[in-house]
Symmetry: C2
Subunit: 498 residues, 2 copies
Amino acid sequence: MPALKSRVMGAEDAAALIQDGTTVGMSGFTGSGYPKAVPLALAAHIVAQHEAGNPFRVSVWTGASTGPELDGALAKANGIEFRLPYNSDPIAREKINRGEMNYFDMHLSQVAPMAWQGFLGPLDTAVVEVTGITADGGLIPSSSVGNNKTWLDRAKQIILEVNSWQNPALEGMHDIYYGTQLPPNRVPIPLVRPDDRIGEPLFRCDLDKIVAIVETDRPDRNLPFAPPDEVAFAIAGHLMDFFAHEVRVGRMPANLLPLQSGVGNVANAVLTGLVGSQFENLTAYTEVLQDGMLDLIDSGKLRMASATAFSLSPEASERINADMARYRDRMVLRPQEISNHPELIRRLGCIAMNGLIEADIYGNVNSTHVMGSRIQNGIGGSGDFARNAYVSIFMTPSTAKGGAISAIVPQVSHVDHITQDVQVLVTEQGLADLRGLAPKQRAALIIGKCAHPDYRPMLEDYYARASLSSYGRHAPSLLSEALSWHQRFIETGSMRLA
Amino acid sequence: MPALKSRVMGAEDAAALIQDGTTVGMSGFTGSGYPKAVPLALAAHIVAQHEAGNPFRVSVWTGASTGPELDGALAKANGIEFRLPYNSDPIAREKINRGEMNYFDMHLSQVAPMAWQGFLGPLDTAVVEVTGITADGGLIPSSSVGNNKTWLDRAKQIILEVNSWQNPALEGMHDIYYGTQLPPNRVPIPLVRPDDRIGEPLFRCDLDKIVAIVETDRPDRNLPFAPPDEVAFAIAGHLMDFFAHEVRVGRMPANLLPLQSGVGNVANAVLTGLVGSQFENLTAYTEVLQDGMLDLIDSGKLRMASATAFSLSPEASERINADMARYRDRMVLRPQEISNHPELIRRLGCIAMNGLIEADIYGNVNSTHVMGSRIQNGIGGSGDFARNAYVSIFMTPSTAKGGAISAIVPQVSHVDHITQDVQVLVTEQGLADLRGLAPKQRAALIIGKCAHPDYRPMLEDYYARASLSSYGRHAPSLLSEALSWHQRFIETGSMRLA
């Protein structure tokens, strides 16, 4: 479009349109589809301003995590005043944990609705990566959808990055639902299977709001794939046995139910386990499509996967780019308020599989705060899925840091998932099916099945003494010891007794 | 029906049909509509069995809390092996906290789906209070709906109590939705306004499963109404100001959004506050209809209230019984999997207002466990509403036990509601609007606005020291002190420093 042609410019010129003290809504979800040029240029601009003695900081909203050219560069430039809804960048994490950056860690399903609701304040600029602009002004989404629809709708001005590195065959994979409303005007979301398409393939956009178009040709942050280790395969093995059992006793269909899976080593081991399993005709309704999902599709086991973003290794990224048209028939990317919507997760009956930092003997889960105060990444979508799942599974190696940390502790130092939302807990040691159990029944199972043998006697000792002298014996605890394992780790570098 | 006439019998004969070691699903939700004769007879039977040296205990499932003739009598008889999903009976509470009864404290929306899912085990007997049986075999629900539909569907045998104390004009107030399914067959629930009727007025029932019909004429457990005190009115005042502000800035419609309100002193003060407010044409989508809701209806302010049960004082109960046909037009009672359904709460955009035991400086809320281990009642529906509300409000007096306990503590001793689900915190001291804030911003507001002046300096001192030496400074904490206020209360009877 000629009108838009005139707005094509370099990243520096585009970044200069962003003002100090404003809020920028950026694209990006787990290292996919984030803008790669404008944030870098903005960071350079901020550094220059700081060197000139001028204050310059912005609030940054995204879908979830992004890449080093966005969070890393802006954090390094001391350019982020406030960040939501999720971060996994190490430089930003360090700033947050030094108390130098405010971070609002959110349920990912709620970001868009809360932005519409208005209390987060106005959105000044959207910076969104797309793969193209159609002749009639539709925007072709990139490798993540995230909150882009909402940023484009709400921002006063829009900066687009058109990334030619992204595969043009992505067009048609997306399903952008425009039926959301604020109450009292909300209606049922008409999705009843992970396959359903309920929206449009393109973003609508008020072209008058586009103030800059920047052309890029840069890859997503695709991290090398760490192959699962023995511990991860042991966890996956316990889970395969559990699924087989649930099908056998009639509590799950033979093709299971839509899978939700986090990223990483253990998640990939589980997906690999499913490749080698008896289960057929599987579906996924999840946040991200990782390497293991591609393997499952290639194996013919996974019929359909719905998500909001890719999260791939460079190799998997090459694989999918070489054959995008075929994969496109088996994948849908949706806005994150739809991929993570409680209404849909509960309706579909997802099998939720998430990692954790630590769990306690009653099954409370800490997914975010190391030693209770130091945030690792964020709650992400785990709360959306865990509370609404048909079965909510949490999985973790039983120890971390070479055995210095037990993943099972007397009391978690921070809670992200309450016992009611933690139904199955799995470590390489075993699987605890906690469904329908009272606290003391849960404690016996978790200590017996999930704890590492090095820490099991310490947990048994704590629990036995708590059972004798706790204030209440519904969920026995010793308040003066409940967090002592964490304190010991801070003081000595290990949760083990000297 | 003649076939049913032959099954009319006394409570003792009916109770004798219940076997040791089985599971009984009873009606009842907050002291309404629970069976009043068979549980008492069962308790007597159990006592006799125990005296004869025979073991006899049952598992008891209900809607929520019940009355002394059910939980109290069975707990006193040592007759309950396992209890779900909620308890507020003092005798049962004592057994639970002595470690003598297993109690599975659940999200109330999940009870029925989990029963269908099967992992809770089989349901042997349903004992359900109804107000009548129609000529063609439909059951007229009583003053609560709870999980009765599910108990009637799933139980191997059914015992009915037909209570002539209940008002026959209740007929037609209920809306029993029969469209629920297990995944993958779930579909959208077609409710878009609190007023919508999506089901049937009667329970369906396989009459062949009815093994006993017991006639009763006994009142619900309607507790005297404690009029709100100054503290409760101060909390309500802050909330009225907040609502007015939200309407003024355009974040809420002029008639607000469907109200969810817990029971008790503070909740009733808020409803009384609404009676005297500028708000008109209100609706409620909530668990229970308490005295304040009747006042709101009588004032003409509340157009429509949807719930699963009544929870009234004897006076309010008389008022409603004297004029049931009129109230019936403004009330719907639904199964609790519908009154508390996350899909519906999020769609309607409820304003959730719940009480708490304690909150911490970051906004984590403990609703259930006194000093971390002694359960008070249970999470009930607070999790269903808090996570899915348009605005999630928690309210409490800033101190308890004559000032010996601060409702605001450095770290809660148990978590039911994570910071993401706690958006507004109100005490008589003030209101903290925590929406969109990072942990340190929340801490400043909670300490400054909500804490009691007697405890504020202690909280400021803790927080200042934590900010200097915490392991991470995203949400500063001192692990060795975080639970020390609770420990001090256990040891000295007060959280105050000596």
